[in-house]
């Protein structure tokens, strides 16, 4: 039985494929966004991406929005395939093309698993939102909008828990799908296996990935610009290293999950 680290190393090519796919899909909206920035009225000589994003609802660069939408849909369509490829390569050592073939075999099952997890999350969210609206309405007599909003917000706090549980369930079910053949039994096994411990671990790994991604977005400006540099190559390199690191972090979590569920 391999350790999580060994499984992670074994999945290197699949993770690289994942990274390259995301890079390829991102190139189109990034180009359109950059083009829109140049073609649209310039806001300020020193404007940077995040500042400009504040303006996006105002500027509405439709080409960037549309290409972003296309890239997003393509990513959603490819996601099960890439995820299963990674998971398959963590389960057994084989050439990458064989893992892609395994992933393709399970593609429809993975789609079903994703849709059911989304349905589960949506049901939880709808119920919790209804509670929040109920609380807000019930407090109308106070004529205090802050109190009503905060109470509604507090009532909606379980939303986060439901979402995190759905995410963990999705990862566990995807892993079970590679370990078993049938998506129904994978989902049933996942429902049993998704313990509080797994949810917490999944949350921590996701938080680490989000923090890394955020740092990737913010730090180039803080570090490079603060020192008077405007080196696009350095920013590009830094950004890509961050994106790769986020993908690897995600892979490391999936590897630990495979290791745990294979026992």
């Amino acid at each position: 039985m391999s350790s999580a680290h060994a499984r992670f190393t074994q999945a290197g090519p699949a993770l690289l494929l994942t990274y390259l796919t995301k890079l390829t899909l991102a190139l189109v909206p990034a180009y359109q966004l950059s083009h829109a920035h140049h073609a649209a009225p310039s806001i300020a000589p020193s404007v940077d991406l995040l500042t400009w994003l504040v303006m996006l609802p105002v500027l509405q660069p439709s080409a960037a929005r549309d290409s972003g939408l296309v890239a997003g849909v393509a990513m959603l369509a490819l996601a099960p395939l890439l995820r299963l490829t990674c998971l398959s390569s963590m389960v057994q050592r084989a050439p990458l093309r064989k893992h892609v073939a395994v992933a393709a075999t399970h593609y429809l099952g993975a789609l079903r698993v994703s849709l059911l997890c989304i349905a589960y999350a949506a049901t939880c969210i709808a119920a919790i939102c209804a509670t929040g609206i109920g609380v807000e309405t019930a407090l109308a007599f106070t004529h205090d909008e802050r109190l009503r909003d905060l109470a509604a917000l507090a009532a909606c706090l379980p939303l986060g828990c439901a979402w995190l549980h759905a995410c963990a369930l999705h990862d566990v079910a995807s892993t079970q799908l590679v370990l078993r053949v049938d998506w129904r039994s994978a989902l049933r096994a996942a429902a049993h296996a998704t313990s509080l411990r797994i949810v917490v671990q999944s949350t921590l790994w996701s938080a680490a990935g989000a923090a890394l991604g955020l740092a990737g977005l913010l730090l180039p400006r803080a570090l490079l610009h603060a020192h008077g540099h405007d080196d696009s190559t350095a920013v590009l390199l830094y950004g890509q290293l961050t994106a790769l690191a986020v993908t690897l972090l995600r892979g490391r979590w999936l590897a630990s999950l495979v290791a745990r569920l294979s026992r």
Partner: protein, 535 residues
Amino acid sequence: MSQTRLALVFWLLALTAHADDRALPRTDQRYEIDVTLDPASHTLVGSERISFVNHSQRPLRELYFHLYLNAFRDHHSVFMREGGTQLRDARLQQPGHIEITALHTQAGADLLPSAQAELVPGDRTQLRVPLPAPLSPRATLVVQVAFRAQLPALLARSGYAGEFHMVAQWFPKLARLDETSGWTSFPYHGLGEFYADFADYRVRITLPARFVVGSSGALTNTEVHGTLRTDELSASAVHDFAFAAYPYFERVEQRVQGVQVRVLAPRGYAAAAQRQLRVVRAGLLSLGARFGRYPYATLTVIIPPRDADAAAGMEYPTLFVSGGPWWALPAALPDPAQDFVTAHELAHQWFCGMIASNEVAYPMLDEGLAQWATLLQLRELYGSPPSLFAGRALPIDPFDVTRAVYLRRADPVPSSLLAVDAYRFETLARAVYLRPALVLDALATIHGEERVQRALSNYAHAQRFRHPTPVDLFASFDDVYGPGYSEQQLRPALSGTPTATLEPTRAAAAHAPTERSFFAEALLLAQTLLQGLGP
């Protein structure tokens, strides 16, 4: 411009400001109104005594009243036909109206039978009242009016939402009497605002005692009779009077340069009220230094509750309705959601309140200049370099944002010098608000900020408590920039002449350099977003 240089400009402007900045002019009109608000039926029943002098050069044979609540009577009014509800994205749910039930002179002549109520077919927002005998120049006429009004469910400026009542354009008011051309009366236009003579008001408002009132002018007396309360208010040298009533207002007050500033906000809005008070404090000092001190003793800011948002963003003399959510960012951070409307409506205390141009004929004179003054206030509030987002980490200039909004659509923008009925809702903002502000900013960039400031300061001081036209504005610019400058540069730019030097264009904007790292950052952002969807 550095803050030190700005301070120096203010100081110089303050030194050269007229010594009688705080003096209010004497007016020859007086309204004494006694009104009862029934918040359960949302009705007003009142009487008014109007005393006015014929300050025109010819005998008056008629009076014109504005009955602007009739704009909300049905879908046939000019206001509704011109799409007045689009501005606040609302629909006519519960109509409102006003009816004069008695109208006679002090001598007892009944004026109502001969009055004409429908001067524009389908619209009853004006009333023409023939006089039994011509009123000679400089002669005084006193009329007694009784009226009954139904407030509409809030859809534009006036009306009610739950227990919140914004009582604006609520009483029969005389149209403006021009010295040379006679009455200037028009219906309540869909995209237009108001125009009237300066007058003194004494208003007695009776309503349930639990209601808190925020109004134009100052409270002079309060009497409680059982469950009812009567507030007596007085306002001098103002061209309108409005009030808001709501039982759940909380009050934040501060004295700024002798002005009692009062923010009335719903429960839970303490942070927003403090934030807006800070904007008003800074604005009173800044705008006062530029355009002459705010001369009134009080200034009231109303933050409406969430469901009364259609009342937000409107100015009245010594009173304005701002907007924004109950939460506010800490003072150190820019918060346009709280600051922008407040700064804009405060600027209207000058460009509308005191410099009372005809807002239907020349909307640019109040909205365009107020927009420019708003952006300057935001620039000052947010420090140097200015930033609308997250402090200095992400610098962005309010004028740049305005330029981006102005230029985001390629279709031509009509002249900024047209009357409101020439605009469509979609073009009004760009023509009337944005372009004038950008033209003045371009002027400041090309010829220096000090000269623009001087031209507008001269205009503001010369037209204080007057009713200027664009000719007066152009004359102030010609005084500073040289004879003929306005005709050669300013008017073409405001008219949207493509070759005008000061006209903001895409071609000019495209020359601004952009960061080379933009693509790299855009790529990373796209990847990060895809990460959320990815495996």
